[in-house]
Symmetry: C2
Subunit: 279 residues, 2 copies
Amino acid sequence: MATKCLGIVGVGLIGGSIGLAARRTKQFGTILGVDHDSPSLTQAHNLGCIDEGTTLDVAAERADVLVFCTPVDRIAELVVAAARHCRPDAILTDAGSTKVAIVAAIDTLSSPAVRFVGAHPLAGSEKHGCAAAEADLFDDHLTILTPTERTQAQAVDGSRRFWESLGCRVRLMSPEEHDRGVAVTSHLPHLLSALLAGMLPEALVELTASGFRDMTRLAAGDPAVWSAIFVQNRDNVLAALKMVQERLPKVASALTTSDATAIERLLADAKRIRDDLGD
Amino acid sequence: MATKCLGIVGVGLIGGSIGLAARRTKQFGTILGVDHDSPSLTQAHNLGCIDEGTTLDVAAERADVLVFCTPVDRIAELVVAAARHCRPDAILTDAGSTKVAIVAAIDTLSSPAVRFVGAHPLAGSEKHGCAAAEADLFDDHLTILTPTERTQAQAVDGSRRFWESLGCRVRLMSPEEHDRGVAVTSHLPHLLSALLAGMLPEALVELTASGFRDMTRLAAGDPAVWSAIFVQNRDNVLAALKMVQERLPKVASALTTSDATAIERLLADAKRIRDDLGD
């Protein structure tokens, strides 16, 4: 019988899905949940995402793997607080959408013995709360691990095994490379989605169809969660926004002169890139 | 037995879906297809979208309802060419995503006897070709009809009945109101989708997840079809683009100062609008 203990700090969509995915693997005898919101803990228990709700201290003392799934602006402080209680061989990891700020804060504040490896599973949805959790959320998705020079090799191996056990593929990159990349592939799309949704006057609601709905689905994400992401990855998001600001006048200029060839070329380039991504 | 004849000019996704939706209603004894691409006609016939492929002249002579589903830059000339052969009581309508240019050209060029009513079913997908056609594509979707002062009341009634028979709800507005509205709800989202897809470097493909894919799905649309739409609705699309250009610096400024409250407010406003749209 499995005797290992998994601790999940923050039992929302991601934390709850980690619980369900980990349960599938039968590697943990106990799955503990920690959340400042006690109804969430009850719900996570009722949905089978966790076995018991507890405090951060207790989860830290008992966990073989402790994974932090709170909004990004809470992760570093919780890791540092938990680290004081963790067993020296415990694996600590997270699921935050930004990595530079979190990893730097933990590298600065924690003792070398802490085996924290930053992680970001590239899976999710605009929904939130563990009611939306899915055991297969991570299947065939990529999880980025962002170890630094200070990260122990054994911790990287342990984190990799944990994330792979949830169904993910794993790839290592630096926190900096991660944050630059997701600024373009995730944070900018979210910002454009919110910008577009925010432009819709009430009178035009009836003229929206599947295209508008697809393009604004991300905008339904939790404002507090995403605001923290934008602030933590500010410079990279600003650089991505600047790329948009530089490209818009070119599009406008092709339109102004009714340059159908230029417009069609822009659309064809975009279509080629999109078609290559698959469904 | 139904003896009425439906003619579909342009048997792509929309034309093919109209054929399948009309067949469900059993109101037409014959469904004729017209397309300059003869393999498309064969495919439409094999898929049951049409009964026979024929020429525009023949379809115009025989049709009780003739619906034009070509790219928007071909519709007006085809309607005018067909009108010479149409029976005086035939209903002519279209499925073009723009209305002002099409309706104006037809109003100018056609005799008062022609019963053309501009239409735009707010349904579709990034796919194209009648292989992607669906009998229920229009169910519970809105179709906008854009009659003008010159449009005969009987033609409006006939068009409304035809579109409603396909499963749509119908709403009347002026061509100008339509084009201004869809510039924001359809054409701008398409342009932003293409812009975003076009910004993705090869190296970041692995960092894309469902958010990026949702946001760039529209960019897979046919470049020639969409280029024609953008040119026909140029001024309204430029006005919508300008709204984006004016809002981006405000977003950038909130980010630059790490004004989490302002960012969260922007995201919360967008979320409220998006949540109201439903799934």
